[in-house]
């Protein structure tokens, strides 16, 4: 890409969520979302492959629809309350519409259909940005208006997301689509606890970013996009392949890995608030996601010669060292024992 265009796009991509996060005025927050959306469209379509173009159009249409719904809800809120302050969004109908708009931007069920297709059509790095950085601004807005959100609606959307995230990823063979459904399920966990404890939502979000970034960087380093090529990726880097298994277990939420920590705290918080049935349902629904994470780990790491696979070895390109990856792997695996530190901070 032209370096000047690249500079403008990257700076807009960083600027957009920053504007949204730091604003108190609804219009400024909306402007930040728009800048962010427009900046990422050329990045999604960078390859110019027909599927990449299709992914960018799907992303644009969904985000534009969500932005227009958000703007409509903002105007409605202003009409009813007379002010643009984000934290004073008290009108019920506006809050509901804002919930719908922001969940559409995040890719929560039932507005999740665009996410797997968009992630599948683009590169691994763009998948990383779409699943991590792009969630920052909408989730921040949800956290800012959490006091006026309908808990029942959010819990319903969360449970639906966990169910669809688990069910949809069950027989996927493309790793980017699996990460999309993983994202949907994790967002379900984040929004479940939003009205009860925003700090837990934030902790879950940071943990999710760490795990997803580690996983996608591993996928990029191993140059594998499908489960079939993941089966032969151990020849490139056996240690990284083994760590990928740990990272997958962490994503699944198995103790004593990092991913278990937010799930444990969320279930504890739900139980404290007498939402035991919802907590139990969430724990059971996470088993669906666990199944496909274990499946990837089994086929990529546990299935080794002399059990011959059906796939030939891949081309071995020059290994692009990522010096921060070992640190991220440690962070994504070993944070649970220092959970009391996080509790104190929170």
């Amino acid at each position: 890409m032209n370096p000047h265009a690249n500079m403008i796009i990257m700076s807009s991509l960083i600027l957009g969520p920053m504007i949204t996060i730091t604003s108190n005025h609804w219009i400024m927050a909306w402007v930040g979302l728009e800048i962010n959306m427009l900046a990422i469209i050329p990045l999604i379509a960078k390859q110019h492959h027909p599927r990449a173009i299709e992914a960018s159009i799907k992303y644009f249409l969904t985000q534009a629809a969500a932005s227009s719904l958000l703007l409509f809800s903002i105007i409605n809120n202003v009409w009813n309350t007379g002010q643009f302050d984000i934290t004073q969004s008290t009108n019920t109908m506006s809050s509901t519409m804002m919930t719908a708009a922001l969940t559409m931007k995040l890719g929560l069920a039932p507005f999740h259909y665009w996410l797997p297709e968009t992630l599948q059509g683009t590169t691994t790095m763009m998948t990383l940005i779409l699943t991590t950085w792009q969630k920052l601004a909408p989730l921040t807005l949800l956290m800012m208006i959490n006091q006026s959100l309908n808990t029942s609606l959010l819990v319903t959307l969360s449970l639906l997301s966990m169910m669809i995230g688990g069910w949809g990823g069950l027989n996927q063979t493309q790793l980017r689509k699996i990460m999309a459904f993983s994202s949907i399920a994790h967002l379900g966990w984040m929004t479940m606890i939003l009205t009860l404890s925003t700090k837990l939502t934030l902790l879950t979000f940071y943990t999710y970013i760490t795990l997803t970034t580690t996983m996608l960087l591993t996928i990029k380093l191993l140059e594998t996009n499908k489960m079939s090529t993941a089966m032969t990726s151990w020849t490139k880097s056996p240690m990284l392949n083994a760590m990928m298994m740990l990272n997958l277990m962490s994503l699944a939420g198995l103790p004593p890995l990092t991913g278990f920590m937010p799930k444990w705290l969320i279930l504890q918080e739900l139980t404290k608030n007498h939402m035991t049935i919802i907590a139990t349902t969430s724990a059971i629904l996470s088993l669906l996601s666990l199944f496909f994470y274990i499946r990837i780990a089994y086929y990529s790491t546990i299935t080794l010669p002399p059990n011959m696979t059906n796939y030939s070895q891949q081309w071995r390109h020059k290994n692009q060292q990522k010096p921060y990856l070992p640190l991220m792997i440690i962070t994504s695996s070993m944070l649970t024992p220092i959970m009391p530190t996080f509790m104190m901070i929170m």
Binding site: Q47, H48, H49, P50, R51, I53, E54, I57, K58, E117, Q120, W167, L170, N171, Q172, T173, Q174, K226, M227, S228, M231, R295, Y299, T309, N310, Y311, S312, W315
Partner: protein, 302 residues
């Protein structure tokens, strides 16, 4: 707004529009011999418009019940297959298979999965037919190619015949796709007459501006009594749109394949025959090419 235009179009009872389009969204399954037009109201050129008046339409409640039973049955099967694995088969089978037969021709039902077309649709004089071969073991595509252009003052060229597999439909006529990402070659067992054919793979993109995109390659048949086993790697397929090869070439992505077709357009008048035993897929481990066509930067900077 699009929905309001669609509704206006449907309820506008003029002699020039299809009256039954107004009913199809609501009671299509109840009509006898109703073809679902959920995707478009396209009428194939050469077919006469259906102007059956309303009072002559045969409404059948049984048809509606059968439609509901069939589609809920398909939905149940899809849900069960989703649990089993990709495309309803277990993961072990998915990972271990090296070959797969996708289309074979053993009965009329197999032939019904294909659509035959020729330039008769635009007024040409070619003919194409598809029937079962000897002992119901093969499909025989035969006919006559004529390059005589129709005299409509517009068309300058003519002379093509084609067959294409029908699109896969799921429950409630949802689109379904083939996932061929486990394979790297198309395998055909055919017996031709020496003519060159084009094989087209359609990936059914989501948006209409890409609907004419096809991935194409050539199949050169030998004449003679012996069967020909042709293996074409997917890396060889090039991108064309509306019949024109694109400057920017991209590899074929195999996770969302919609249809395969064969086209004959070699500008040679006369009869043709192509006998197809089966069309399958192959994971050729000796083939390591990812994409056959390199992209060169146009107007490179010095």
């Amino acid at each position: 707004m699009a929905l309001s235009f669609k509704l206006l179009e449907n309820v506008f009872l003029s002699s020039k529009c299809h009256r039954q389009n107004a009913l199809h969204p609501f009671c299509g399954p109840l009509l006898t011999n109703c073809i679902s037009k959920l995707y478009s109201s396209y009428r194939r050129p050469g077919t006469s418009p259906d102007n059956t008046p309303l009072w002559k339409m045969n409404f059948s409640f049984e048809n509606g019940v059968d439609w509901i039973k069939k589609n809920f049955g398909l939905l149940k099967k899809e849900l069960v297959d989703h649990v089993k694995g990709p495309e309803g088969r277990g993961f072990e089978e998915y990972f271990l298979e090296q070959t797969r037969v996708v289309w074979e021709f053993r009965s009329q039902k197999d032939l019904d999965e294909w659509v035959v077309s020729s330039d008769a649709e635009i007024g040409g004089k070619s003919e194409a037919y598809l029937k079962l071969g000897k002992n119901n073991q093969t499909a025989l595509l035969f006919g006559t190619l004529s390059t005589e252009a129709p005299r409509d003052g517009e068309t300058g060229y003519s002379g093509y015949c084609a067959i294409r597999a029908k699109l896969l439909k799921g429950a409630f006529d949802t689109k379904k796709y083939y996932d061929w990402s486990n394979f790297n070659s198309l395998y055909l067992r055919v017996r031709g007459d020496g003519r060159p054919w084009m094989i087209n793979i359609y990936t059914d993109p989501y948006y209409s501006h890409q609907k004419d995109d096809l991935y194409t390659y050539f199949m050169f048949t030998r004449g003679g009594p012996y069967w020909q086993e042709i293996t074409i790697p997917f890396s060889k397929f090039f991108l064309s749109s509306w019949g024109r090869i694109q400057d920017d070439q991209y590899p074929l992505w195999l996770d969302k394949i919609s249809s395969v077709g064969f086209t004959l357009g070699d500008k040679a008048d006369g009869p043709f025959q192509l006998e197809i035993d089966f069309i399958g897929l192959l994971n050729d481990r000796a083939h390591t090419e990812e994409f056959a066509y390199e992209k060169y930067e146009r107007n490179p900077k010095a």
